[in-house]
Amino acid sequence: MKTLSKKIESRLELIEEFSKEFRLFCNEIVHDEKLIFNLELCLNEALTNAIKHGHKGKTGRFIDVAVDLDHHEIAVKIVHDGNRIPNFALGAKLDFDPKDIQTLPESGMGLFLIKKIMDEVTWNLRENRVELIMRKVLKK
């Protein structure tokens, strides 16, 4: 099993650098570009949520990320000391009227994508820290 751990300052402009590191890390075992893109997308969405909604954009806060990867599964754990996601948001759906273009969503798609791509998504509250764990089976 390979592990990638990092403490990232809670700033949107720092996601891209870590995202590229995550992509290279996944590439060592996963050789499916679409799958790597989807995993990277989930990482980005989770970090963006932590920064925008967890820490509400406040500076000087940090997010811990730990990724465990082997040929069978990837587990991404994201931990921060900000606000937890409200329960009503956890059932994220993508609702719009296909006949009316003005109803297409411009935001709120992050959780929907995470839940669609990952096999298991759990949120825990441990010692006042919000913990998100996302798992995906790579090979059965």
């Binding site: 995202s19 570009e33 980005n44 920064i51 993508l94 297409l104 935001s107 992050g110 994508l113």
Partner: protein, 117 residues
């Protein structure tokens, strides 16, 4: 954040010159594009050939632009989309609302044909 903006007759071709259209840059990207819409441009090509990654905030900004352009009875064609990025459009079912073409030439041909109708 750099955008290449080229006018080809009535068509405005916008090409982001960065790797990721993500939450860090999506607001600025949207703002720059809205400036072009406010200059009375109605036919657009969004060339994503330099963009390797888009997150939901980036996609949201493109959706917002689609709504604005369509609201002005204009057209927007997206081209140069990497297969991985097309996958994001499909995951969110947004592929059915966007005209996606292979490259700039095909996009111009589509807009030319549409504007003659």
């Amino acid at each position: 954040m750099k955008l290449e903006i080229i006018k080809d007759n009535e068509v405005t071709i916008v090409k982001p010159l960065f790797d990721s259209l993500n939450a860090a840059v999506s607001t600025e990207f949207r703002g720059k594009f809205i400036d072009l819409i406010n200059e009375d441009n109605i036919l657009f090509i969004l060339d994503l050939s330099e963009v390797n990654f888009i997150d939901s905030a980036g996609l949201g900004s493109i959706i917002a632009l689609l709504k604005l352009v369509k609201g002005n009875e204009g057209l927007i064609v997206v081209c140069g989309v990497k297969p991985t990025v097309v996958n994001l459009f499909k995951l969110t079912r947004m592929d059915q609302f966007f005209t996606i073409r292979q490259d700039k030439t095909e996009s111009l041909a589509f807009l030319t044909a549409q504007s003659k109708k």
